[in-house]
């Protein structure tokens, strides 16, 4: 295996933070894929809930029940099971919104960089204006206008997320098209679309890997904030952020576990992504080598 002997893999093994980061990400991958098989109770099947089980503390506290390791909420719902189901929604939203942002942003960045002119000006001015406002505020405004729903969260996140790809890709495209291989392809009579797709695109993708990795974490946080404010996902499909909000409502009665543990889950997920993203940035940045 040449990958196992590569410099990248060597550096990876030597970097504690990269190993911890990817382990956390792998843990979440397992939780997201296998989550429903890891717990006995489907937290959204009303028939599986028993009000007698409500407000049980975590198992290590007095009154805890080994059946519910992290305690239960007001409806007798297992907090651990809710987190596994909630993480699916959070990760799904983060990943899909990242892919959508990356696709749209890359496309617009290629078009702007390759063709220039008025198209370039319009796309980049929109990007400039958007970048001067915090993403969370734009997303909040869009959600307040379109209402709650996973699909709407995805639209709002994509609307704020494409800009960073468009800018990066435009910059790389501008420097690529000056190079000889692109000139040669032009002289050879290749149509523009083919030059962009076959020659420019593969050469502008590397910097996007880091952006895309970190962005999943950013999106998970923004989605959590929107859901916490009540303008994100609907109550029937609670993400980790909505679980925190539901727990916040009973926090003052001292029932901390329903909101603290979902927050720990978000923290571990985003921390893992950021650790690994930092490692990737150092690895893929040729200036630091």
């Amino acid at each position: 295996m040449s990958f196992l002997r590569s410099e990248f893999f060597y550096n990876y093994r030597r970097s504690t933070s990269a190993v911890i980061g990817s382990a956390l990400m792998a843990g979440f991958a397992v939780a997201v894929i296998a989550g429903p098989f890891l717990v006995a109770q489907d937290p959204y099947d009303i028939a599986a809930l028993n009000l007698m089980d409500s407000y049980k503390p975590p198992v290590w506290l007095e009154g805890g029940d080994p059946q519910f390791p992290l305690g239960t909420d007001g409806q007798g719902r297992d907090v651990w099971a809710s987190i596994l189901y909630g993480a699916r929604i959070s990760v799904f939203i983060g990943l899909v919104a990242m892919i959508a942002s990356c696709t749209i942003g890359t496309f617009l960045g290629l078009v702007a960089g390759f063709y220039g002119g008025i198209v370039d000006s319009v796309i980049m001015r929109i990007a400039d204006i958007q970048l001067s406002f915090p993403s969370i505020l734009i997303a909040l405004f869009l959600m307040s206008a379109v209402g709650t729903g996973i699909d709407k969260v995805l639209i709002a996140l994509t609307a704020v997320g494409w800009v960073v790809y468009a800018r990066t890709v435009r910059g790389s495209t501008l420097s690529e098209i000056k190079k000889e291989y692109v000139q040669a392809a032009k002289v050879a009579g290749l149509p523009n679309t083919a030059i962009i797709r076959k020659h420019v695109l593969p050469n502008v993708l590397t910097p996007l890997i880091v952006i895309a990795t970190i962005q999943v974490g950013t999106f998970v946080l923004i989605e959590a904030s929107l859901s916490f404010l009540g303008v994100g996902v609907p109550i029937t499909q609670p993400s980790l952020g909505l679980l925190i909000k539901n727990g916040f409502d009973v926090l003052f009665s001292g029932l901390w576990w329903t909101s603290v543990f979902p927050g720990v889950a978000i923290m571990m997920l985003v921390f893992g992504i950021n650790l690994f993203g930092d490692f990737l940035r150092d690895e893929l940045n040729p200036r630091l080598k």
Partner: protein, 321 residues
């Protein structure tokens, strides 16, 4: 210089115009504000009449024209809920928000800069690694969750800080400021800490990166060679140059603080304009949302403009074009 200022002024107006267009269009597609105004048992003719009074029977371009011209004339509309001018409602709550943002920013700078300098000057030290891990944790935490944990620990569990609201205020230069009273400080502590964490982490990382970048420069070697103390080398020669990129994101961070204040204010029931925005979103109080967004957009373009000016003042290598 004058040419640059005029060009920037034009750009700022352009941005505000685009924002007004986007805000107007998004708001027109959502819901029907007529039902916010008329009573539930209103007849069709009453609804029609309300629609005419609001100008909703006209075409979109005409509506936009009315919207933008009344904005320019200083008529920002009435809140559907409070039946008061929307602008007055926001301005009344603005000092509370600014107060929290300022305290959070100061806290972030005071903590982040020395730690960032230390971590940048000793990149491989054990303490530096802990600082960096802590700062990465800081940008990985949902801010609202931190606020909640602080409320649980300090207010519910130990009862040493209040969980919500703004404390006593005192009048300073005609503004009601809570920083002038002990009770005010007591109330602002938890929300300001919550709000500052994200910015603190980012400023720390920027300062560290800047310090590591300048450490390679010849003037740093020269300063050491001529026998300047370590403190002088780091703070007088290093930090001054390392801060240049930090200043550029300072404006963006200020904007972020204003944006995240909406969430922090909601958790701590802080009576600022951010909480008003969230409440207005729940109540579909369109005029308040519109005025908030236009006002915040204005604040952001002004901040960006000032940052550009400051940038040229601290770095003479950059000239305005």
């Amino acid at each position: 210089m004058l040419g640059y200022l005029l060009k920037r002024l034009f750009q700022m107006l352009l941005v505000l115009w685009v924002v007004s267009l986007v805000v107007f269009l998004m708001m027109s597609f959502t819901g029907d504000p007529v039902f916010m105004i008329v009573p539930i048992d209103a007849t069709d003719s009453e609804i029609e009449q309300a629609r005419r009074i609001l100008g909703l029977d006209k075409s979109l371009p005409v509506q936009y024209w009315i919207f933008i011209s009344s904005l320019l004339q200083g008529d920002f509309g009435q809140s559907y809920v409070f039946r008061q001018p929307a602008m007055a409602l926001i301005l009344e709550r603005m000092p509370a928000t600014i107060e929290m943002v300022v305290v959070a920013m100061v806290l972030a700078v005071v903590v982040a800069i020395p730690l960032g300098v230390y971590a940048g000057a000793n990149p491989n030290g054990r303490l530096s690694r802990m600082i960096m891990a802590g700062s990465l944790l800081g940008i990985s935490l949902p801010g609202f969750w931190v606020g909640m944990v602080l409320i649980y620990l300090f207010a519910v569990h130990w009862g040493i800080f209040p969980s919500s609201g703004r404390g006593d205020t005192a009048e300073v230069f005609g503004l009601r400021i809570s920083l002038a009273t002990w009770d005010g400080w007591h109330h602002i502590a938890l929300p300001a800490i919550t709000l500052s964490l994200g910015t603190m982490a980012i400023l720390l990382r920027m300062t560290r990166a800047g310090m590591m970048e300048v450490a390679r420069q010849d003037y740093m070697k020269f300063a050491r060679a001529k026998g300047a103390t370590r403190h002088d080398v780091l703070y007088k020669h290093g930090l001054k140059n390392a801060l240049i990129p930090v200043v550029t994101i300072f404006g963006l961070q200020l904007g972020d603080l204003i944006a995240f204040a909406t969430i922090t204010e909601t958790i701590f029931s802080w009576p600022g304009m951010g909480k008003l925005l969230i409440d207005s979103i729940y109540r579909a109080d369109r005029p308040v949302i519109v005025v908030y967004l236009m006002l915040v957009a204005l604040i952001f373009v002004v901040i960006n403009f000032l940052v550009d000016i400051i940038y040229t003042l601290i770095d003479p290598r950059i000239t305005l074009k």
